[in-house]
């Protein structure tokens, strides 16, 4: 059974269609990523999935529970890490966790045990007694996550949980999510950082302007752009006969895979390591020196660029 099924989800705010017919399913135990630039509609999708507000149209099922009809019942299965820090600043980390645990009906020794475990998981056992307002952005984010996993939800839904934090905290969070997933928790993770989604998620949906423009495993998504790496050769600009280079290469590469911009030569190829020395040799044989080589493997950034003509972060 799917953990979550979303069908033809739509949401309009006045004339703005924030989400425009999105369908996908998440299997039990899977880690699923929603990647998209700011304003793509990720949070709106999450808010409808979690039952915070109903969609304009469409269906959401958590296992076989209709989220729109039986919201409270469905919410028992999930933990939600909201995009913003949703904590009481003047209370300590432990007090916050205890409070949120109580909101999920935990009490007594179950609550204490759960709070201790979660503090351990988010790495804040030492700072448990300190007020949240004294914490760094990263530490707050970690408590924000902690408050969502106290009741051991089957499905953890995280909306951009690493926005604006230091690399160390980010790594800690990514490791934590990975660990929770490996322990069997189903994960839905939204981000506009493609590295995070690439690292964490088995399957990825790419969202743009409220629509799901691509859906698949990382491998499948790369395939959509031919899975070509990008080789960038910077050429010495003392030599000026760069124009002849593409001709000398046409025997080895397809014409559409060769681009020359001033003193940059760009080649698309599936196996760059394989042809790199030959390529450099061919170029130098024309009398042009190669000053640097960059190999850019196909990533979600290039997939997004390919699909929308825009970069993920602009």
């Amino acid at each position: 059974m799917n953990m979550l099924t979303v069908g033809e989800l739509r949401k309009s705010f006045g004339v703005i269609a924030a989400v425009n017919g999105v369908s996908f399913a998440v299997e039990k135990g899977e880690s699923f990523g929603l990647l998209g630039p700011n304003g793509a509609g990720k949070s709106t999708i999450i808010n409808m999935i979690t039952g915070l507000f109903p969609p304009t149209s469409g269906a959401v099922h958590m296992k076989d529970i209709d989220v729109i009809k039986n919201t409270k019942q469905a919410q028992k299965l999930i933990g939600v890490v909201p995009q913003e820090i949703a904590l009481y600043q003047s209370m300590s980390a432990r007090e916050n966790l205890k409070f949120w645990g109580r909101m999920y009906d935990l009490s007594g020794s179950t609550l204490e045990k759960s709070v201790d475990e979660v503090l351990e998981i988010i790495g804040l056992t030492e700072r448990a007694k300190d007020k949240v307002e004294t914490f760094s952005g990263g530490m707050k984010r970690r408590v924000n996550i902690g408050a969502a996993i106290l009741h051991r939800p089957e499905l953890l839904i995280m909306d951009e949980p690493t926005v604006g934090i230091d690399p160390q905290s980010r790594n800690h969070i990514l490791e934590t999510v990975k660990r929770l997933n490996s322990e069997g928790m189903t994960i839905i993770y939204t981000s506009h950082y493609m590295e995070e989604v690439e690292y964490l998620c088995e399957r990825i949906g790419i969202i743009d302007h409220g629509e799901l423009i691509a859906l698949g495993t990382l491998h499948e998504l790369r395939e959509t752009i031919g899975d070509h790496s990008k080789i960038v050769l910077s050429l010495d600009n003392k030599t000026s006969n760069h124009e002849i280079i593409p001709q000398t290469l046409t025997g080895h590469f397809l014409e559409k895979d060769i681009q020359l911009n001033d003193n940059q030569l760009i080649i698309f190829h599936k196996d760059p390591q394989f042809i790199l020395s030959d390529l450099i040799q061919s170029v130098t044989s024309t009398g042009t020196k190669v000053t640097s080589v960059d190999i850019i493997e196909p990533n979600l950034e290039s997939v997004f660029l390919h699909l929308t003509g825009r970069s993920l972060r602009d």
């Binding site: 808010n47 979690t50 039952g51 915070l52 507000f53 109903p54 304009t56 409270k72 919410q75 028992k76 999930i78 939600v80 909201p82 995009q83 913003e84 820090i85 949703a86 904590l87 009481y88 003047s90 209370m91 007090e95 409070f99 949120w100 109580r102 909101m103 999920y104 009906d105 408050a147």
Partner: protein, 399 residues
């Protein structure tokens, strides 16, 4: 019982916020002290200042010494600026009141002096038109001051609608007849014999207390609206907590804070300034709960119309000031015309202040029960309208 934890959390946060805590507890005491000292004199002279001179009808059946002192020395001489005294016989007085040529009159019983001398109870009858206003209060207060062992029977002459023109002569009847069962003509109220007038400092303690409670409620509702705009509110709605539980928890938190504040104001003014809050502590506590409930209801109703926390806190500040002013917290209620006082009963703080004053004057628990019921009733009504609006808005916004 999740809502309890919500209430406890709110209390924790308030107690830790030193500024909020000081505002809640210290400011009221300080201001009561300052204003009580400053306005105390105004209160003492307020009859000079404002109340128009009126005529008091007296039917003195006693002719003894004490009644003469009361009528000649007190009413005629000492209060000459406020009161013009006219003497009637008993029936003449009743007639005058009945046809509204006179609005307040007293009948001093035949045994007045004798009873007073022997220390037993004597009842002065206070006759008034149905809506005598402040005049009756003044007369009553004077008599009470004259002797606080006198119990006064107030006969508020209720002018019932005549069934037909021919029936008009029977509108006022000194003795109840069988007619009145279907058509009550006289309402009789007996006021506690130990009724005491409210002193200026007492008045200000109550008035300021009510104002600060009002501010606490506005503050509480503002925080609620603020919280609604914050991520924690959404997160709360994602837990097991329902919207109703959320509201219940918030209300309980606010009621506990307000009760603590009321308790401290009462205790503080009692210990520091010797203010007498009357004998019924339970009356004060329950009235406070009723008041907070009522004011919260009004706040939530207002909140359902006002979208943002900023707008609400500005509007709330103005509304608090206006309500406090009209409700008697800034200017003594005695200075207002009667119809204003009646209308302010529909303001949570107006009703609360008047009830606190009643309690200070020795009203018993059962006497203020209608006020408590009224507060809760009004609060419920405000709540209901506010909630309906909120849920409609919620549906509308997200539909």
């Amino acid at each position: 019982m999740t809502f309890w934890w919500l209430a406890i959390k709110d209390l924790q946060i308030v107690v830790r916020d030193k500024k909020a805590f000081l505002t809640l507890i210290m400011m009221p005491l300080l201001l009561i002290a300052i204003l009580g000292a400053a306005f105390g004199d105004v209160m003492k002279q307020d009859d000079d200042v404002t109340i128009e001179k009126f005529t008091l009808g007296i039917a003195n059946l006693d002719k003894g010494q004490l009644s003469t002192v009361l009528t000649d020395e007190v009413f005629t001489k000492a209060l000459s600026k406020q009161i013009k005294v006219k003497y009637y016989d008993e029936n003449g007085l009743r007639e005058k009141i009945k046809d509204h040529t006179l609005s307040v009159g007293i009948i001093i019983p035949a045994n007045f002096t004798a009873s007073m001398m022997s220390g037993s109870e004597s009842k002065v009858k206070l006759l008034t038109v149905p809506d005598p206003g402040i005049k009756a209060t003044i007369v009553q207060t004077v008599i009470e001051q004259f002797s606080n062992s006198i119990s006064i029977e107030v006969f508020a002459t209720q002018l019932a609608q005549p069934v037909n023109a021919g029936n008009q002569t029977s509108v006022f009847q000194p003795k109840p007849s069988s007619d009145e069962i279907t058509q009550p003509l006289i309402k009789e109220t007996t006021i506690n014999a130990k009724t005491k007038p409210v002193e200026s400092f007492q008045y200000y303690a109550a008035a300021m207390g009510v104002m600060f409670l009002l501010m606490t409620v506005v503050q509480g509702v503002t925080t609620m609206i603020l919280e609604k705009e914050q991520a924690v509110y959404n997160r709360l709605l994602l837990t097991k907590l329902t919207f109703t539980q959320y509201l219940t928890g918030k209300m309980i938190g606010l009621i506990i804070i307000s009760l603590a504040q009321a308790f401290l104001i009462i205790l503080g003014t009692k210990l520091l300034f010797g203010v007498d809050w009357g004998p019924s502590l339970s009356g004060i506590a329950l009235m406070t709960v009723g008041f907070v409930f009522n004011a919260c209801g009004l706040g939530i109703l207002a909140g359902s119309f006002i979208k943002t926390e900023k707008a609400f806190s500005v509007a709330g500040m103005f509304a608090t000031q206006i309500m406090a002013a009209v409700g008697g917290s800034m200017v003594p209620l005695y200075l207002f015309p009667d119809w204003v006082i009646s209308i302010t009963k529909f303001l949570p703080n107006g009703l609360a202040l008047q009830t606190y004053l009643d309690l200070m004057s020795g009203a018993t628990f059962s006497e203020i029960l209608p006020a408590i019921a009224g507060s809760v009733g009004l609060g419920l009504m405000f709540f209901a309208i506010g909630l309906i609006r909120l849920s409609l808005e919620r549906r509308g916004r997200y539909a």
